[in-house]
Point group: C2
């Protein structure tokens, strides 16, 4: 399926979601998208827009793009808009006309206090829009598109699910290459370089910034977080933890894997490592069991969180999972605790067709970090694993 057809598929889906949420018009405004893009632009075609551009999707299924004269041909080629209007001096007349004609009772804009995937409207463009609508009834009909965007991103089509799965398959193959190459004494940066080579060789992209994709954490001295791979080296009797996501056909994977480097005389992992591994899996499985349509995000997280803490491990200072797809945050429901940091995203309700990560970790003193992460699909009956779960610790 080409990029254009997937855009049409998602925009067809959008009209239904708008009706469901009683929104007449979904309006996306962007400008100079090399500098400040809206994450929703990918759903709308992903084209570059130099001048202020408006994408209107109505609940009746009508789609209008208003873009600078020079950008019209790129939008027309998508064949996803009923009307592509090019302008020269000002977007205001065409935008006012289009809104007048559609006469929406409610207009959803991409701003959100909680969900950055639905928060692409800049404050400056919000001021421009408010000014353009001044004196019309539409100025009072603006609201957040948060729920619309959350549903649209969150409910994955069969094609989208297939793409996430394909990205996971590539990632697992890369983990296989890493496993073959691992020796005690390898530096984190050497392991990252090997992964970068494989990514280039396979023609893949990165699910997040290349500087810490993969994140590589060797042994107990590494502070696990978003820091880059460094000079620390794998050692016998210690753990190696890698967090990797690739992008294939615009869709992402996000997986964590763990290796244990057997010490002299060991033929299996020591008790402290096995205990952490078992506790983590029990915790992730508890989360997976709670992950079903209708559950609130925080409830799923709580199931996993309580299990891990009850096993005597420190409470993770992050969420159990996030939605995955076009980016590693593709949908606004977080499987996370009700902390201010997460806004209202943990209150979101899990839906059939959502794709989530399930990820938790724990330090093993003197050994390193055990961190699991799998990618799963929510079905009517429960969870379907899109990745092949790492049920066994990998021994080197």
């Amino acid at each position: 399926m080409s990029g254009g057809s997937l855009v049409q598929e998602k925009l067809d889906q959008a009209a239904g979601i708008l009706r469901e949420h009683d929104v007449d018009l979904w309006l996306t405004l962007v400008r100079e998208t090399m500098l400040t893009s809206d994450p929703c632009l990918d759903l709308l075609g992903g084209m570059y827009c130099a001048w202020t551009s408006a994408f209107l999707v109505s609940a009746t299924g009508e789609r209008i793009a208003i873009v600078g004269r020079f950008d019209t041909s790129g939008v027309e080629r998508l064949d996803a808009y009923d009307e592509v209007i090019g302008y020269d001096e000002s977007i205001r007349p065409a935008l006012r006309n289009a809104i007048d004609r559609l006469d929406p009772a409610s207009i959803a804009l991409n701003y959100s206090e909680s969900d950055s995937a639905a928060d692409g409207l800049t404050h400056g463009l919000w001021l421009v829009l408010r000014d353009a609508l001044a004196g019309t009834p539409y100025a009072e009909r603006l609201s957040s598109s948060e729920q619309v965007v959350n549903a649209l991103r969150g409910r994955k089509s069969a094609e989208e699910i297939a793409r996430v799965r394909a990205a996971a398959v590539e990632t697992e193959a890369i983990f296989g290459v890493v496993t073959s190459a691992l020796r005690p004494g390898m530096a984190e940066i050497e392991i990252a370089a090997l992964v970068h080579e494989e990514i280039a060789h396979r023609g893949l992209g990165y699910a997040w910034d290349r500087s810490h994709c993969p994140a590589v954490n060797a042994g107990p001295e590494k502070e696990v977080g978003h820091s880059a791979p460094g000079a620390l080296r794998t050692r016998r009797g210690e753990l190696l933890h890698v967090d990797l996501g690739v992008r294939k056909d615009d869709y992402c994977s996000d997986l964590q894997r763990v290796w244990y480097f057997l010490d002299e005389g060991e033929s299996e992992a020591p008790e402290d490592v096995v205990r952490a591994w078992t506790a983590l899996w029990a915790s992730v499985d508890a989360g997976a069991a709670a992950l079903e349509p209708g559950a609130a995000g925080w409830e799923v997280d709580a199931a996993a969180r309580e299990t891990l803490v009850a096993a005597g491990y420190p409470e993770p200072m992050y969420s159990l999972g996030h939605q995955l797809g076009r980016s590693t945050h593709d949908g606004g429901t977080t499987l996370g605790p009700r902390w201010d940091r997460y806004g209202n995203s943990p209150y979101g309700v899990v839906e059939e067709g959502n794709v989530f990560t399930l990820e938790y970790g724990a330090p093993v003193p003197g050994r390193g970090y055990v961190g699991l992460e799998e990618d799963v699909l929510v079905t009517a009956d429960g969870v379907e694993w899109l990745s092949t779960p790492q049920r066994e610790l990998w021994l080197v």
Copy 2:
């Protein structure tokens, strides 16, 4: 100079610009910067921020970063902030504390109706901030950082100028490779592929989206704009126009070059092509002559625009030039007409140390498009060319 030192250099410069504009505090708020980044983040260190993060730069020279716990190490490594505060559950207490302590009479935020390079604050984060400051006097002290960011981006340091020049040198070398390879009958996409190869081979990045970087326009049938290179082929008696910008050490070039394919029996370009070329250069030179500290952007554009129209060519539906540096829009003053589309950017005043493009073009019926673009530095005495101007049409 390392990335970190350049960040320090720009942040040192920022304190002086804040005092000049009577702003006590410049506050940048970002979140999940893989999805919605603020173009100003590059000036502040360019680090990835997962959770809501605040960067405070005061007119007294104090710099504070408040970021999620996992992101602290990346910021500390820059050595550009006096204080790096990590948080777990909510940014609000640390942010409120820091602002209370600095007690600013004025706080500049990155929003702008005209300049996307100063419009990185999302509307959702603006709501979050307004809420966090509710009940404090600071809620009433917010304004746009437009002028501060414009000056900070616009006044290039010696290091920044050297980097733009180096990017231009690479670009010219790539044009040289193209010239050697050109033959009648080559498709636009073949020429683009050759440029992509050279960019990869030289370890460069793209100044704008790879799909239309370079833009390649062969002959009169191509609609010149932001459309991608296609199947059109170079032909004898026609023009080839290429618009290319590369990124080297985080800084960009942006240049246009033109080739004429001699027809059977021709030893020089025909009269219609030469006339357009001469008129364009006269127009660009008129703009260059007007480009001096103190001029308004629109005045510089008008000098060029009037010259071209007086020579009988169609009025360009775009501006003569934009500021160049970390991106192809690095600074908010546009050398452009006072059209609504450009907001107040043409009213900006040219300053010493600004780097601008100078670009104009004209169609030659039946032949194709002649488009010039050079990169120049504004000095106290006038313009210094950072690229080697294409004073002669290139003949194939």
